[in-house]
């Protein structure tokens, strides 16, 4: 499932070659260490029930990290993913409320939600790739705009989701929790996307825009495509947020944007573009979740928790980057 350009990296054996093929190896090691530590501090945390809860809570961050990865492939960045997720969250909540909250209304609302995410992605792609504004500041400006839209649709947090909606997200079918079906669908989707032309083209653009252009790639269209894909995945993340919190909140995604960037880096993708995997980002989102759980289970006093989490995430970022550098440099 890795979409790593493997040419030009030949002739090196051992660890380096392994890292080239699987840039998310350091992340997997960190993940396993964290799982073991969690188990040591609180054996119950490795129960099926707890792990299901973990995935249910961090599914949204996994999807946002995936969203971010596709723009980072092309050496761009999207600081509006959290705002897009908030906007989609309030859009589907209000729609479901207006349409009565039945099964059909849920499907209709989700359809509209994906379209809203897509539209936001296209706007980002337009300002960054077509108007050639600097990605960091331009997507920050669009995030303010999207937040304003979300506040127009639902000025204050609190409108509830229909019972059927969050019951489904939190429920089980044939003994398997619903979120694991989501994970399975996500895995298939990511596999198909990794083999898609767009993913390869995004990596090519990230590797060198000028070179990609000169070999005939429609660079602007490809970058817009990356942002569009990002918007759609941010919408999917919003569905999970809505299922998890069961309510609408126009600011719910704001804090997740920077975590999505951290997850991409932790997952082994290069912010400079042209190299990376979505699998790594998904694992890294889980790492962030496990760090938060571990800090809790280790009995850290409540007001120290944020600080320890911050230190642990910084340490994980350093380890991840140092290990992958040693392998690839």
């Amino acid at each position: 499932m890795t979409a790593t350009p493997s040419i030009a990296r030949e002739g090196r054996g051992g660890f380096g070659a392994l890292l080239d093929r699987f840039p998310f190896l350091p992340a997997i090691v960190i993940l396993i260490v964290l799982l073991v530590l969690n188990g040591l501090f609180e054996p119950n945390s490795l129960s099926f029930r707890s792990l299901t809860g973990l995935v249910r809570t961090y599914m949204a961050l996994m999807l946002l990290a995936v969203a971010q990865t596709y723009v980072v492939y092309a050496a761009d960045i999207d600081l509006s993913v959290g705002a897009i997720a908030s906007l989609v969250n309030v859009t589907i909540i209000v729609l479901m409320q207006h349409l009565g909250g039945g099964g059909l209304s849920v499907v209709a609302a989700l359809g509209v939600g994906v379209l809203v995410g897509l539209a936001c992605g296209l706007v980002n792609g337009f300002v960054v790739a077509a108007l050639r504004l600097q990605a960091i500041v331009a997507t920050f400006a669009t995030s303010i705009f999207f937040t304003g839209l979300a506040l127009t649709i639902l000025p204050v947090a609190g409108m509830p989701a229909p019972t059927a909606f969050w019951r489904t997200y939190g429920g089980s079918f044939f003994g398997i929790p619903f979120v694991f079906y989501c994970v399975a669908v996500l895995a298939v989707l990511l596999y198909l996307l990794a083999r898609s032309r767009l993913a390869t083209q995004l990596l090519a653009v990230g590797d060198g825009q000028q070179a990609a252009f000169q070999s005939g790639l429609p660079v602007t269209a490809i970058r817009i495509g990356g942002y569009a894909l990002c918007g759609v995945f941010a919408a999917l993340a919003a569905f999970c947020i809505t299922g998890d919190t069961a309510s609408g909140d126009p600011l719910v995604g704001a804090k997740m944007t920077l975590f999505s960037v951290a997850a991409v880096v932790l997952g082994g993708s290069a912010l400079s573009g042209g190299f990376g995997t979505v699998v790594g980002s998904v694992i890294a989102a889980l790492i962030i979740g496990l760090i938060n759980a571990l800090v809790f289970f280790a009995g850290t006093p409540s007001h120290w928790q944020n600080f320890v989490q911050g230190l642990a995430i910084l340490a994980a970022l350093m380890v991840g980057i140092l290990v992958s550098r040693r392998g690839r440099a």
């Binding site: 303010i144 960037v261 951290a262 007001h303 350093m318 980057i321």
Partner: protein
């Protein structure tokens, strides 16, 4: 013809023209907006942002994707440190200044070492540091009174000091002159531009690239700490996360001032104008009578529009 109009492409000229236009617009929307008192109040707010942006500007000028996302955390932290160090007493001010500068320099040093020794991309390093700082704020706030500003500090920030301008504006002007002098007239300044436009060439020419980059991050921490110190005087007491708003605002002020995020060119004079521009824009939006949601949408759209005037990337050519 194009020669004669080329000054229109100067970011500083663009920013100043936009500032005048916004002041006229603001005065039309709400008479009295461009009065002396109001402008003075705006300048104080702009000075706080501008001081943070000075450090941000240096880090960005240094290139190699230089950016400092931790400035907001340092601003908040140093406001709290200052508040606790002086606790409402003028006698505590010197100690508070020392404590703030040390705090800022310490976190800047950590950022710089992470970026140079461990070669972590600045965006990631400072993002991680922001998380640590935010956690630290929660720890410090717990149970401890956040501290109050000394009367002399409040006076320095809000009361006229010389020629009708408060001390903080004079401080900002001094920082502006100092930055212009360093960037244009000293070896240090030339080295900053050198590592920003071509790090390898600068290294070959004997510039101590690593030490320079660490220095830039330390300076960014110190400028943020000074801003946090002054912010305490502006707000009277330090509350949590006062600095959060400065993270992206400082980057936007730099960009609106004509320094591209790729580094190597630009300067601080433009950034000062960018900070004023941003503050006036926000102020106009608060005076017009619309819902918060509409205000945000107008703000976001206006920022995009403003960015169109500046440093758009070069088009691809075959």
């Amino acid at each position: 013809m194009s020669q004669a109009l080329s000054f229109l492409r100067n970011p500083l000229v663009v920013a100043l023209a936009l500032i005048v236009a916004l002041l006229v617009l603001g005065n039309a929307l709400s008479p009295g907006f461009a009065s002396g008192q109001q402008i003075l109040r705006l300048l104080i707010v702009a000075a706080l942002l501008g001081i943070v942006a000075a450090g941000q500007n240096l880090v960005i000028l240094g290139g190699r994707e230089g950016i400092d996302l931790s400035v907001g955390g340092v601003v908040s932290l140093s406001a709290i440190v200052a508040g606790n160090a002086m606790n409402g007493l003028d006698a505590g001010i010197p100690a508070a200044i020392l404590a703030c500068v040390a705090t800022g320099a310490f976190f800047g040093l950590l950022n710089g070492l992470g970026v140079t020794l461990l070669r972590i991309p600045p965006l990631v390093m400072t993002l991680g540091m922001l998380g640590v700082l935010q956690g630290l704020l929660v720890v410090i706030r717990q149970g401890v009174p956040s501290g109050r500003a000394a009367p002399a500090l409040s006076e320095f920030v809000t009361r006229p000091f010389l020629l009708g301008l408060p001390g903080i504006i004079w401080l900002w002007i001094a920082i502006g002159l100092l930055m212009a002098f360093i960037l244009n007239r000293t070896v240090l300044g030339h080295r900053i531009y050198a590592i920003g436009s071509n790090e390898h060439a600068a290294f070959m020419a004997g510039v101590p690239v690593r030490r320079m980059r660490v220095l830039l991050f330390v300076l960014s921490g110190v400028f943020s700490a000074i801003a946090g110190f002054c912010l305490l005087g502006y707000s009277g007491s330090s509350f949590a996360n006062v600095g959060e708003q400065y993270m992206l605002a400082s980057i936007i002020a730099v960009v609106l001032g004509g320094t591209p995020l790729s580094g190597g060119k630009g300067g601080y004079t433009g950034t000062m104008a960018g900070a004023v521009l941003l503050v006036i824009l926000q102020s106009i939006l608060t005076t017009i009578n619309i819902e918060e949601s509409g205000r945000q949408m107008v703000f976001g759209a206006t920022l995009l529009l403003l960015m169109l005037f500046y440093g758009r990337g070069r088009g691809l050519r075959a």
